[in-house]
Symmetry: D2
Subunit: 387 residues, 4 copies
Amino acid sequence: MAYRAGRHFLQIPGPSPVPDRISRAIDAAVIDHRGPDFADLGKTVLSGMQRIFKTQSPVVIFPSSGTGAWEACLANVIETGDRVLFYETGQFATLWKQMADRLGIETEFLAGDWRTGVDANRIEDRLRQDTNRSIKAVCCVHHETSCGITSDIASVREVIDTTGHPALLLVDSISGLASVDYEHDKWGADVTVSGSQKGLMMPPGLGFNALSDRAIEAAKNGGSKRSYWDWHEMLACNTSGYFPYTPATTLLYGLREAIAMLEEEGLDNVFDRHRRLADSCREAVSVWGLETVCQNPDEHSNALTGIMVPEGHDADFVRQVILEKFDMSLGTGLGKIKGKAFRIGHLGDINELTLMGVLCGVEMGMGLAGVPHQPGGVEAAMRFLSR
Amino acid sequence: MAYRAGRHFLQIPGPSPVPDRISRAIDAAVIDHRGPDFADLGKTVLSGMQRIFKTQSPVVIFPSSGTGAWEACLANVIETGDRVLFYETGQFATLWKQMADRLGIETEFLAGDWRTGVDANRIEDRLRQDTNRSIKAVCCVHHETSCGITSDIASVREVIDTTGHPALLLVDSISGLASVDYEHDKWGADVTVSGSQKGLMMPPGLGFNALSDRAIEAAKNGGSKRSYWDWHEMLACNTSGYFPYTPATTLLYGLREAIAMLEEEGLDNVFDRHRRLADSCREAVSVWGLETVCQNPDEHSNALTGIMVPEGHDADFVRQVILEKFDMSLGTGLGKIKGKAFRIGHLGDINELTLMGVLCGVEMGMGLAGVPHQPGGVEAAMRFLSR
Amino acid sequence: MAYRAGRHFLQIPGPSPVPDRISRAIDAAVIDHRGPDFADLGKTVLSGMQRIFKTQSPVVIFPSSGTGAWEACLANVIETGDRVLFYETGQFATLWKQMADRLGIETEFLAGDWRTGVDANRIEDRLRQDTNRSIKAVCCVHHETSCGITSDIASVREVIDTTGHPALLLVDSISGLASVDYEHDKWGADVTVSGSQKGLMMPPGLGFNALSDRAIEAAKNGGSKRSYWDWHEMLACNTSGYFPYTPATTLLYGLREAIAMLEEEGLDNVFDRHRRLADSCREAVSVWGLETVCQNPDEHSNALTGIMVPEGHDADFVRQVILEKFDMSLGTGLGKIKGKAFRIGHLGDINELTLMGVLCGVEMGMGLAGVPHQPGGVEAAMRFLSR
Amino acid sequence: MAYRAGRHFLQIPGPSPVPDRISRAIDAAVIDHRGPDFADLGKTVLSGMQRIFKTQSPVVIFPSSGTGAWEACLANVIETGDRVLFYETGQFATLWKQMADRLGIETEFLAGDWRTGVDANRIEDRLRQDTNRSIKAVCCVHHETSCGITSDIASVREVIDTTGHPALLLVDSISGLASVDYEHDKWGADVTVSGSQKGLMMPPGLGFNALSDRAIEAAKNGGSKRSYWDWHEMLACNTSGYFPYTPATTLLYGLREAIAMLEEEGLDNVFDRHRRLADSCREAVSVWGLETVCQNPDEHSNALTGIMVPEGHDADFVRQVILEKFDMSLGTGLGKIKGKAFRIGHLGDINELTLMGVLCGVEMGMGLAGVPHQPGGVEAAMRFLSR
C-alpha cells in the first residue's frame, strides 16, 4: 500500500496512541521471568498499579484484554448460578452482562437510556427488594466508553451500605482509569476492572483487577471453577514479584514506563489535562449545535466525547469521510446508537494542538459529509484553550 | 543498577530471544482494531498460523499466555465433570492436568517417569477399558519443555482410531511449534495449544488453539460455560479478519513478521537448524559424561536439552554460577527434577556461534561449580558443527 | 524533567519530524561496511538519491550536516582565491557566502532584500561585466529556509548560458529537495547541495552533493586541497556500493526507507501535498492580515511559511508563548529579520490535521502574545482544505 | 533475501555492535536544535566526553566519520605547507598521512614494520635534527586498528618535552578510546581524534577532537582555511550547549546513553573487561600456534587481535568461510598485510560468552579453510576465563 504521509490520528476511545517512551521501553530484550532481575520489574509494576488505582489492596495483572479482566473479576467472586445486578449504562455494560449470562450467572439488568449514568437510587430500590440477599454483586461501569458517560461509583457504594446489603461492588473503569479520577479504596469498590490500552497509554494486552479484602475473602471460599483467572496463586506469586505463568514481559516494561510517566506528570495534572481538553471539545460541540450522547453535565466523560448526528444522517458516513480524507480514526456508535453517534477519543497521551487538529478534522468532515451544523466550533475551542 | 556489558544469553527454553526484526515490527503505532487496515493484518496472521500449524482448519489467537490457551482448549470442548485422560510426560503435563482439576474436570493421569515420552500403548489399554466411552479427551504434551522430550502424537491418534474411541486428541505443543516439526492435520490432533514466546521468537502474550472440525463441532454443543475463551464468536469475527474484543495489536504485528521470517527461512530449514544445533549440544553432553533427562534417543527435543547433574550436586547452583559469572540464564529443573537437572534452551532465533558461546558457558560453569564432568564437550560440538 | 503529555509539534523548517518507519529502519544492527551485504545498501541509496534529485549524474553522500555538503561543493570545484558570485536571498545564502570567505574564496554578493528570490537578470548583468571570466561559479539558494522563498534555478542557468559564461551553477536545495519540485539535470545545476533532515524526513547527519559532468571535470583538475570532501575517491568507491571511509550506516538504512516512502507516495504527490498544505497556511496568514516574508506569490515556499509580525511586536516572544503553552517549536527569524518574523515548517511527513493543529497553535499563540491580527485564519484554512 | 536465523557476529574492529539501550535512545524524536531542551543534551554530551577523554579541555563533536575528525584536527592547527611528522604504525597511520599530503601538508613518515608501536626514540632523534623547528606537529596513532597495536603516547610527549621542541602532539585514538585506557591530559596530547563507532558502542557518524590549550591557541592564529571543521565558532556555541550548524541530534542521544553506560560500568572496569577478553583471545591464538600481528607483548591491543595466517594461506579466505558458514564478520588485513592477517574485533559491548562464540567460530573456520593450526585454542581461552 502506498505510504500515507503524516501521522495517523488515532482518536478512537482506546486503544489510545502509545507515546514513544513506552514503545521504546517495550522494545527491550525479554528477560527470564523466573530470574532475579524479574522480581524488581514485577514489584515495581504491581505497587505502581496500586497507586494508579488508589488502593492499598493488591492489583492483579493478566496477559489479556480488558474483557478478560471482566471475566477474571466475575470468575473469582461469583459462582455459576449466582445472581448479579447490572446497570445498563451503554454497550459495555451490556456486553459485560452478556458475558455473565454466558458464564451461567443469573443476571438482572437495570435498563438505562445510554445517555445518563448510574442512578444509585434505582440500585438502592432493587437491593431493598432483595430481602433474601440473593444478589451477590452489583456491576457498574464507571466510565462507559460507548457513550462517554461517567457514573458516580461512590454513590453506589453508599446505597449498598445504606441498605446493609452484602453485595459486592464490581466496577469497570477500563477507559476511565488514569484519564479521569478513580479512587478504588475511597469509593469502596470491591473489584475494579481495567485494561492497558486507554489512559495507561499502552498497547492492548494487559488486563487488571484491583481487589478489596472482601473480594479476596469472597474468592477464597467461592467464585466459579477457574484456573487462568484465579487470584489466589497469582497473589501468592506476586508477593515476591513473580507470576504463576509466563507474563507478557515486554508489556510489563511498557507498564513500568507508563506508571513513571503518569507520576512524573502527576495524576491530578493528568486528570486536569483531560478535563481541559474535554471541556474544549464540548465547547466545539455546543457551538456546532449538536448534542453530546451524555445528557447530564455532571456525568460527562473527559476521555471521550460521544456526538449525536442529526436525524437522517449516518454517523458512520461521517467517520468514513474523515478517515479517507483526513486519516483520522474516530469511534463508531455501538449497539443502540449505531449510526446515530460517533465518538472522539481524547485520552491518554494527548495535548492541546493534537486535539485542535482533531476538532478541525471533525468540523471539516461534517461539512464534507453534509451533516448540518453551525460553524465556529473550532473557534470556540480555541477561545476556551486561550483562556 | 550498573550496566552489564554485552548481550545477556537468554537460554531458557522460552521465552526465547526476540530478533530485532520482530521487535521493530512490534514497535509500530497501534491502529484501530475496527478499521479497514486491521482486517488485512488479521487475515494475514490467521492464515499464516494455519501454515505454521500445518492445518486447513482455523487457528484461534488469544491475548493470553500459553496457559490461557490450555484453558481455552479445555473450556471449549470439555464440560465440567467430564473425564479426561492426561499422560504424565513432565511438569507441564502435570500443570495442565492440575488446571483441569481446578476447572472441575474429572482427570486421570497415566503416570510417567519424566524421562520418556508418551507410550501410546498405555493410552490404547486405557481407552479399551473405557467401554462406556466416558473419556472425552486424551491430553498429551507433544514437546515437554520441562524435560526436553518429544512424543509421537501420530501414534496416539492411531490408538484412538484403532480402538474406535470417540475421545478428542488435545495436544500441547507450546514449545515445539516452529522449532520442531509439528503436523496438526496429518497427525490428527483435534486441538493443538501453543504460545508466542518459543519457536515463534515472539515475546510472551499470545496463545493459540489450532482446531479440527470435530473440535469445532464438540464446542458447538458442549464445553464449559465460557466467554473470553469461546471459539464461536471468535471464529465468526475472524472470518473477516477481526476479533470480538480488543486484540493485542502490536503483538500481532510481531506475529506477522515472525511468520514471514519463518517462511523466508523455510520451515524445514528451521527444523533442520534446530536439529543440527541440538545434535551438537548432545555431542557435548555425551563427552562431558552426563546424561540428558530424555532417555530415549528417538524422543530428544531439538529445542532444548535437559541435563542431569551427578548425585550430590545441585543443578540450580550451576545455573546460579553461570548467571553471575557469565550472564547466561538457563532453565531450572522443575517439579520432580528440581535441583537434579538444568535445561539449555536452544530454540528460536539462534545460530551456531551463539550455541557455542552457550556450551562454553556451561562447560566453564560446571567447572566453576565443581560438577564432575569430562572436558572436551565444546571441542566435540565444534567437531560436529565442522562436518 | 516532568513528562509533558502528547507529541511535541516540531514545526521548525527542519529538522522535520521523522516518521516511525524511518526511525525503525535506523534502529537496526550495524553491518560490516566492507562486507558483501553493504554493497546492496550502498547502491540502493546512491541510485535512489539520483531519482530524488532527478539526475543521471552521481550523487555523493557525506556523513555531515548540510553545511558540510556546502563545503564539499565548494572544495571540489573552487580553488582558494577563485571568485564566486553569491546572491543574497536570505540568511542561508549569507552563511554560505561567509563559509566561502573563510575558505579563502573571493566572494561577491548580489544584495537582496530577503523577501524576494533570485533575479536572474542581475546575475546576467554581472556575468556580462565579467569579461575576463574571473567568476568561477554562481551560487544560489533554491529554497531559502530563512525566508520561505524559492528561486527559479532554471532562469539562472539560462542567463549563464545566454551570456556564454563558463561559470558553474552551484545550488543549495537543502530544505527544498523532496518537499518542492527540484530538477537537477533539467534545470542545469552543476552541483546541488542538500541534507537529510528536511524533505527527506530523516534525522540530521547526512549531506548530499548532486553532480554534473562539468562539475566532475572541474573537480578533477581543480578545486581546493581536500580529502574528506573529495569526490574522486568517493565516486570510485561508490561504483561498487562502498564508501572510502566508514559511512553513517544506520542513517543510510533510514535513507533507504525514506526513498522508498517518497516513491510509494510518488514525488509529484509529495509536492502536491506540500503545496496544498502551504496554500492553506497562506490562506490563514492572509485572513490574519499578516504578511508573509516572501513577497512574490510565484516564489512562495511550500515547505515553510515565514510570517512578519507587526511593528512593535517580537516574533520570538510569540514563539516562546507557543512553545511554553502549546509545546510547539517554530522557527525563529534569522539574521536581518530576527525578532521581526517567525517561520512555520510544514515539510516532510505532515498531513492536513497536523497542519490544522499547527495553525490553531499559531492563532491562539498570537492572541496570547498580544500580536494584533484578524480572527478567522484557521477557519479559512479549513475552508481551503474542504474544497 | 532469506532470513538468516540468529544474531550476526559483527567482530570487525569497529563499528562494534550497538547495545539496545543506545539504539533505543537514538530512536527518539528529533528536537529543535535551537530550543531550550537541546542545551541540556549538548552540555551533557560535551562534558561527558571530557570525562571519557580524561581532559579538562573542551572536546569538539562533529557530524562526521573518524576520518573527518582527522581532517578537523589537521585543519585547525596545521597550515598548508607546514611540515608534520607521522609515524607508520600501520594502515591508519598511513591513511592519515595520505590525508595530510592531499591537504597540502609537508609530511614526513617514520617508517614502521606494522608489528610494533611507536618508538619514541626515533621521534626524539628526528626532533633533535629539526633545529629550525620546522616540524609543526607529531602525529601518532595511539591504537592502530589495522594491526592491533597500542603505542605509548606519554613517551612521545616526553621526548617532545625533552627536546624542547614546540611541535604539537596529535593523536588518533579512534578505536582505542573507551576500550583501552586513554589519558588525554595526563599523557600530554594536544589533539586527540576519535569516532563514535568503536569503544563508544555507537553507530558511525560522530567524530571527536579533544583539545589542549596549546592546540586552541595554535588554532586561533593558524591552521588552514576552514569552516566546517573550525573549532572557534564551535567552542563559542558549545559554551551554551549548542552547535553552530545542525548537529546529528539522534546520534547525540545515543552518545548521551553511551556515556551513561560506560560510567555505570566504570571506565576502569570497561578497560579490565577488554583486557580480560583480549588476554583470553591471545591464549587461544598462542595455543593455535599462530602469531599475532603485534609482536611486542607490551603493545597488544585489548580491543582487537590481529592474527597472521601461515605462509601460503589466504586470510581473506578464512574470513569468507567464517562469514558464509558461521555468519561472523571479521576484519580483513589492510594494506601491507592484506591476505596475510585477519583481525578479531572484541571491543565495545561484548562479554565472555560472545567472545567464546567468536573463538569457536575462528577455530572451526580455520579448520574448514585448511589453515594449519593446533587444536585447543578454545579450551585454553575457557581455562583462562575460568580462573
